[in-house]
């Protein structure tokens, strides 16, 4: 975070959640930076930020932290609850601990980095955002994902990429199982370049791109066909 002298400290033990969110949302472009103390698992913290605000949250957050984020850079120094960075449009959300279920659900853009693990359904219905998880992801991750990338440096749980559309998944570790219509695909140079760029943005430029495998849609289930009934 930028220079200590300019940092505005907001303490959720002293101010209520709505007041803190209004301060964060009211910041002009480039406003802040802010440090938020004692989040105490509060829901919907730092939601709906629309400027390039920098926010550092000292502790664990509740549901939907940094939801609908646009342009802001939000760091959670701790664990994040369900739906962190859900419906993010742009900007960056960084979680130093673990994230719960449905991280970056329906995100249209921006980057979510999780230093630890995520629970189930990471990147569900992703619409163009990028996600880098340095640990493992839970079951049904990237369910129905339409566009964007998920990079997993650890392992992926059951039914990875179930009913996936044109999103891409890169996994370095083991995949417990692939979901319906999700298959392993060739790593071409364009994918290696994308992956390298994502790893660099997530601060792990030293990770070997060659150790990852790529998964995506087999494009068999885009349109309903009765002979595919067993696959759903």
């Amino acid at each position: 975070m930028a220079g200590g002298a300019n940092v505005t400290v907001l303490d959720l033990e002293k101010e209520d959640l709505r007041a803190v969110n209004q301060r964060l949302q009211g910041a002009d472009a480039g406003g802040g930076p802010f440090r938020v103390l004692h989040p105490r698992g509060a829901h919907a913290l730092a939601c709906g930020l629309t400027a390039g605000t920098e926010v550092e949250i000292e502790g664990h957050t509740g549901y939907y932290c940094a939801g609908m984020n646009e342009a802001a850079r939000v760091t959670v120094k701790g664990n994040a609850g369900v739906g962190v960075a859900e419906n993010m449009m742009s900007g960056e959300v960084w979680v130093t601990g673990d994230a719960s279920q449905s991280a970056a659900a329906t995100a249209h853009g921006g980057l979510l980095v999780v230093e630890g693990n995520t629970a189930a359904r990471c990147g569900i219905s992703l619409k163009g955002g990028d996600i880098v998880v340095k640990g493992n992801v839970g079951h049904m991750s990237m369910f129905l994902a339409q566009a964007g990338n998920l990079v997993v440096l650890g392992d992926a749980g059951e039914s990875l990429g179930d009913s996936i559309y044109e999103a891409r998944i890169y996994v370095r570790g083991k995949v417990a199982s692939l979901g319906a219509d999700c298959i392993e695909k060739d790593m071409r140079e364009e994918h290696r370049a994308d992956l390298r760029a994502l790893l660099e943005r997530a601060g792990c430029a030293d990770a070997d791109v060659g150790a990852f495998r790529r998964y995506g849609s087999a494009r068999e289930l885009y349109h309903f066909k009765s002979e595919n009934l067993d696959s759903y």
């Binding site: 509060a42 509740g62 549901y63 719960s100 279920q101 079951h139 049904m140």
Partner: protein, 301 residues
């Protein structure tokens, strides 16, 4: 929705503070379950050959003294009683099954909430804060406690339909979710295992199932593992026995759960915010229990 909290002390020096640590956890889960709340607390173990029965009657002027007297004369038993709000704790050396029947037969509105040497279950309709205040939960000591705030989805909002459920000595179960095969399982347990049920509630069936497995010699840990084979539906369970505490989520982890552990305690919350007031939580190991994995502490786990 529903909220669940649980606190299992590893450090006995904290037992005097159990209620004070636990009450804010329960109240924090009010917006997950404002219909009713319940608590199972393990404390104040009855002397050898005694059992504690916790019973409820909705009328504040119900004549519990007459019930205690008939226990004394019927079984030539020693009876100690302690009123607490709409509940009473009766400690007696009378045979537990017969004593429970006599208490329940005293009035159609009497309900036995729990039986065992250490367990006491208190539950009531209304906001969790009001329920905790009625029973003076904050002042209670004990080794562990499990609580539930209910947003009813599956059966009526009544005191009897509130959690925790207890269907075996010193056993309690709280549940967030809904089971889809509880009717067939209830029939199976009724017809083949001779169990009886007080409500139409799905959680009561799960509690009876676990009690039945424990009766067959399974540990709490293994009894919960058995649930994965025989229960269908959504569930996050927290179960307590006299000296054990266990957590299980269904294989697709439909309902939320957070665990925290320090050298002093293990704490469970439907959400992390239920745990934020606990001492040393900043340094606790905090994690989300994996789906279909049993976590257990103490007891015969």
């Amino acid at each position: 929705m529903c909220g669940i909290v649980g606190l299992f002390l590893k450090n006995p020096a904290l037992e005097g503070q159990l209620g004070a640590m636990f009450t804010p956890m329960l109240i924090e889960m009010t917006d997950r379950g404002p219909d009713s709340a319940g608590i199972a607390i393990y404390h104040d173990a009855a002397p050898d050959s005694f059992t504690k029965l916790t019973a409820f009657h909705p009328a504040p002027d119900f004549d519990w003294e007459a019930v205690c007297d008939s226990l004394r004369t019927e079984f030539n038993a020693t009876v100690h009683d302690r009123r607490n709000g709409s509940h009473i704790v009766i400690a007696t050396d009378a045979p537990v099954g017969k004593a429970a029947r006599l208490i329940e037969d005293a009035d159609p509105r009497v309900q036995i909430m729990s039986a065992g040497t250490a367990i006491e279950i208190y539950k009531e309709m209304g906001l969790p804060g009001a329920v905790a205040a009625q029973f003076k939960l904050g002042a209670m000591s004990g080794s562990h406690a499990v609580g539930h705030t209910r947003m009813a989805t599956e059966s009526a909002v009544t005191t009897a339909g509130s959690h925790p459920f207890s269907t075996g000595l010193d056993l309690c179960l709280v549940h967030n979710g809904s089971l889809s095969n509880h009717n067939t399982l209830r029939e199976r347990l009724r017809d083949h295992e001779g169990l009886s049920f007080a409500t139409e509630n799905d959680t009561e069936v799960a509690a009876a199932y676990i009690a039945n497995r424990l009766d067959k010699g399974r540990s709490l840990h293994h009894a919960l593992e058995d649930c994965l084979n025989d229960l269908d539906g959504f569930y996050t369970f927290v179960a307590g026995t006299k000296d054990g505490f266990a957590v299980l989520r269904d294989p697709i982890a439909c309902k939320p759960a957070v665990l925290a552990e320090t050298p002093d305690y293990v704490a469970f919350g439907s959400e992390y915010r239920a745990l934020v007031g606990l001492p040393g939580i900043e340094r606790a190991k905090v994690w989300e229990p994996e789906p279909a994995v049993v976590y257990s502490w103490g007891g015969r786990a």
